[in-house]
Amino acid sequence: MGRHEELELIAEAMLTRPGIVLAGAPGIGKTRLAYEAVEAADTGRFVIRRAAATTATAPIPFGALAPLLPVDLPAAPDRPNLLRFAADAMLAGTEGRRLLLSIDDAQLLDETSAALVYQLAQSGRAFVLACLRSGERAPGSITALWKEDLTPRLEVQALSEHETRDVLVAALGGEVDGATSRRLWQATRGNMLLLRELVDAGRAGGALTEVKGVWRWDGPWLVAPRLGELIAERVGRLDPAQQHVLELAAYGEPIGADLLAGLTDARTLVDLEAKGLLWTERSGDRAEVRLAHPLYGEMLRDRCPYLRARTIRRTLADAVQQTGARRKDDWLRIAGWRMDAAAPIEPDVLVAAARRAFAVLDLPLAERLARKALEEGGGAAAGEVLWRALFLDQRSDEAEKVMTSLADLPMPDAQRGEIAFGTAYILFWGQDRIDDAFAVLRRARADIAEPFWHDEIDLLENVFWTLLGDTRRAAEGLAELFARPQLSPRTHAQALVLRGMVLCHTGRVTEAIDILDRAAEPISRWVHEVPWVAETRRAFRTYALIFDGRLLEAESEAAAFYAHALESGWEFPVRLSCALQAHIARLRGRVLTAARWAREARRQYGRQPLSFFYNFVIGELAHDEALAGAAVTAAATLAEADRRPLRGEALLQPWIELARPAVAAAGGNRAEAIELAGAAAGFARGQHAVPFEALALHDVVRLSTSRTAALLAAADRLAALAAVADAGLVGVLASHAAAVVRDDAEDLERTALSLIGMGADLLAAEAFARAATIYQDEGRTASARRLRTQVALLVDRCEGATTPVVTDLKAPQLTARERDIARLAVEGLSNQQIAERLVIAKRTVDNHLHQIYGKLGISGRADLAALLFPDDP
């Protein structure tokens, strides 16, 4: 799990060397690696024996190896003879095979055992697999193994983030939510033992759960007793002063080094740093102290008695307040500590802290602080932060209650505008009460005199029109807004983003990208007040890239967006970036990857599944499942997306409409699929959503088997759209349609190349497949065969995608095993060498290659190289 390369190196050493030493920090996973290597060893070649050295066996001659030696080992007059007898005894019963001796904690071997291990390796009759802790003194005979170049020494490293994810997926037997995988990696720093213990604790405690195939950790870490002991063992013995400093760091990190030194003595700090329990890093012009491992803090807080924890929090709050609380997060931290310590706090401090918590999207803390501020008399200012935190946390009903409770409080225009804004947001998104949302805005516009709020309210109306799919009306409203001479900077920045969204949706992508790029800097200034706008800007810029056919660029942007979203810890961008990655993966033909992203997006919906673009995510999943050939599942998923249609999400409805033909086609209903594609095109046309209309019309073309009126009309309309649209994807789809109508195989080939250039492998495969059929009908069998091979190679990248066109061609696909074998054959390995590398019989390799040649229509490995790696010299 996550150690493929290490296992390959060990497997190779088993064939060529007398052993290998695996060194590494405690818990890094070397014992597990050795176990997996031994399990994979060929028992026809090796007799496997295992031993483990301990501190108890260290002083006893042959202590660690005693279980493997006969009780009646003959007394030998001297050490060489003793070792020879012992070696013979160890090798007894191996009968032509080699001994595979696996030793754990080899640094604890007694000298005699170590000498025996060395001798066994040197004789070449055994393969020694020794694990030892890095940095600990090992017996001379063991260090001689690598110093005399008898065996390699492999330093086993902590898992990287993506290796951690691989391990989690394998261990949990399902997909793992990206945020969970990242948190686990950060908490364990890739240490296999800690990872296992944390996962076990999470599963046992109900924090790590699986819903519809995706695992996710909700809530704080759980430090189960066994994990606590493991961490405590690493922390080691502490004197009271050291314990105090670590506890201060556990509650206060990151904490200024000077501040911490003022609460303790410098020597203790130095000692703890030397022990590797604290580390210091520069942050601007000051040094900040952190615990060396995130889980140390968990353990220390978990074990700290309540009253001591309270004193520590008060101490920290007093100390930071005495410094003048000059840093922007200081009041947030002070309020948090005081609240946790049940100490009195001024409402103004609480409101300021709640605003700061909201700004950094720590929604639970923002909520706690705002509620406390309300209790302490913080009034409408506290309520404003509270509704925002609840709204972003998808708790619209609770947010609405807050609004209702605030309505009667006396407040200035600014706060009334804010309340109206919030109420409209909640009604529109949280409850799909569209008319009520508009009514609130209209009333507020009449009641509030401040021009800023008129701008904001008018902008929000246009946001609503956009989301209702009335892009024309929104565009007109925006034009009127931009014409205002005194438009506030905040409204202007948001209006730029909205304009970019409308342009993107209607297929004017160059302008969309330009305006969204121009909006980046202005909107960043308001990110603490309207954080969702910045995320939406990023998402729509990526959609514009998709509609321009720049799928690879979009893929890279979406991946960066996802990474940023995970860092923020806010579900809204995580969900958006997962959905984006699903769209892109599907358009690229990676249907299983697309489904994985869509499922991860769905997993973000915990409490209120019927809101905030849930249908859109589910529609995408249905589309992906359909393309993967899971017709029944896809139909059920689509039904779920249709269960509660939301007026306020009409802008995203085209994605769902595009899923319908795919689901019908997967179910074998091609005629219905064509009809549904036509209907989807009509729906998109109603929104002037050119890229969506083009995709739907293209579906009509793809799915049609003869020159029907629907096909011809779709191709004509696509040509008309391509003439006016500024979106690369539309142009290529129109070219494809035109070539289909003309039965022009060479144009289809050209279109396929354009699609490959975009990264749309599945659509390219379909274009090649059609061209191959035309060549076949024309009797040009060589060309047909050549294209079939191309189809096979493209479909091979599409993770088992099933579309009618590809199925029609019965495109041969290589299995994962066949691909591995083909790659090794191309690398120049003989069938025997491939068999050894993959630890399978040579006859199996022969059979696989025969199968591969048949599928690809070629006669030998020279053709294979040319097909698989045509650009290699």
Partner: protein, 88 residues
């Protein structure tokens, strides 16, 4: 033409080395970077605080992990953009 198409497609599959290095465990990434700058095994061992004999296997694993990332991971932005520009 098809050969060129396959070559283009393959180019798209290739991820930037720099992007892939970022996904490696830190020690591997540092080892490869140091080697790339011409550091000797002894220098690499000193920098990474490991015994010098452990450097060759470490580099080998690092190379293999990097190669796998370059094979399996999506293309990096700069490479994707360059490929797109050359294709259009």
């Amino acid at each position: 033409m098809l050969r060129a198409a396959a070559a283009t497609a393959r180019t798209f599959e290739v991820m930037d080395r720099a992007d892939a290095l970022e996904l490696l465990p830190e020690t591997y990434a540092r080892a490869l970077t140091l080697r790339g700058r011409g550091a000797s095994p002894a220098d690499i061992a000193g920098e990474l605080d490991i015994v010098v004999e452990a450097v060759p296997p470490l580099l080998r694993i690092a190379d293999a992990k990097l190669a796998r990332l370059l094979r399996e991971r999506p293309p990096g932005r700069s490479r994707g953009q360059a490929a797109h520009e050359s294709a259009t």
